[in-house]
């Protein structure tokens, strides 16, 4: 099934979910509202026509106005792929329900998305940072991130000889 067909199938199964098909290059993306995410994920994994048992990748993404979580799914049985996006506007704290009870591999990927982007995952069993230290300030992959100069007395700045480039580096 192609992504538009999957989208039509999902709309028939879950008419109230509010799924949208967003055109993109080279493949379209299905946009899922945060409230419907768990239901949609359950159908995607368990339905025999879809059977997306593999979550290939879960990433955070910051666009100009929004903070999104991007899911790349794959079905080994049928051989089709699907991309989902879920998120909210950048101004407030973006909260997305966790899918780690449906695809356990998401547990660590969601911790990483929280660490690097600040996206909260509701219902996550272990919502700690994973890559940066636990008391790190800020979320590094955000476009407005300002790196910290020190952590626990360990200097993190460049040394001597002047700054190398305007606007680059610490």
């Amino acid at each position: 099934m192609t992504i538009p067909e999957i989208h039509t199938y999902l709309r028939e199964k879950l008419p109230g979910a509010g799924l949208e098909l967003v055109e993109a290059h080279p493949d379209p993306v299905i946009r899922v509202p945060a409230e419907a995410m768990i239901e949609v994920a359950g159908v995607l994994r368990d339905d025999s026509e879809l059977h997306f048992e593999c979550l290939m990748c879960l990433s955070g993404l910051e666009t100009a106005e929004e903070m999104l979580v991007v899911y790349h799914l794959y079905s080994m049985r049928h051989g089709h792929k699907c991309t989902l996006k879920c998120g909210g506007p950048k101004g407030d704290q973006v909260v997305v329900p966790t899918v780690c009870r449906i695809w356990p591999t998401a547990e660590w990927h969601e911790r990483e998305a929280f660490d690097l982007f600040g996206i909260r995952f509701e219902g996550h069993p272990d919502p700690r940072r994973i890559l940066c230290p636990d008391d790190w300030e800020g979320h590094p992959l955000r476009k407005d991130y300002v790196p910290q100069e020190k952590w626990h007395d360990i200097p993190l700045t460049q040394r001597g000889y002047g700054r190398s480039r305007e606007g680059g580096g610490l």
Binding site: P140, P147, L156, Q158, G169
Partner: protein, 160 residues
């Protein structure tokens, strides 16, 4: 005990020669492989570029090693542990900084927010080995230079 108690004299210089010769010919580094340089360090320990012929034998614990071979990128999280391990090593101890990342942050110099820009920001370094990663021959050269440095030390003054 005797370091720093006597000025340089003929007995000290002879003792120096023997002590320095012994220390430099059996450097036991702590296996502190962090990243890519660790693979080259392993390759140098293996049979082609054998480090054992120089008396260099890697030890897993800081209590038994004389030198700390920092090979790879030092990040903030790891930097804390590195300082702790350095303090656990007994005197005399030396540090070799292997690779561009340990020397100065390497390729992550500009945009790495979590990378310490050179391990000498947190511990004192004796020898720097450039390269990304340095070839095994370069690592051997680094050890030989450390040997020369050790040979120049004297027990009349405390090690800097």
């Amino acid at each position: 005990m005797i370091e720093g108690r006597f000025g340089p004299n003929i007995i000290i210089t002879s003792a120096d020669r023997v002590i320095n010769w012994a220390r430099s010919r059996s450097l036991w580094p702590l296996t502190f492989g962090l990243a890519c340089c660790a693979i080259e360090m392993m390759a140098t320990n293996a049979s082609r570029f054998d480090l054992d012929r120089f008396g260099i034998f890697p030890r897993p614990t800081p209590r038994q090693s004389d030198c700390l071979l920092v090979s790879g990128t030092v990040t903030a999280k790891m930097g804390e542990r590195l300082v702790r391990l350095y303090e656990q090593m007994a005197e005399p101890k030396w540090v070799i900084s292997m690779g561009a990342c340990a020397n100065s942050g390497g390729p992550y110099y500009e945009h790495g927010y979590h990378v310490v820009k050179g391990v000498d920001q947190i511990i004192p370094v004796d020898v720097y080995i450039p390269g990304c990663p340095p070839r095994p021959e370069a690592l051997i050269d680094g050890f030989l230079r450390l040997r020369e440095k050790i040979m120049r030390e004297t027990i009349a003054r405390k090690q800097a």
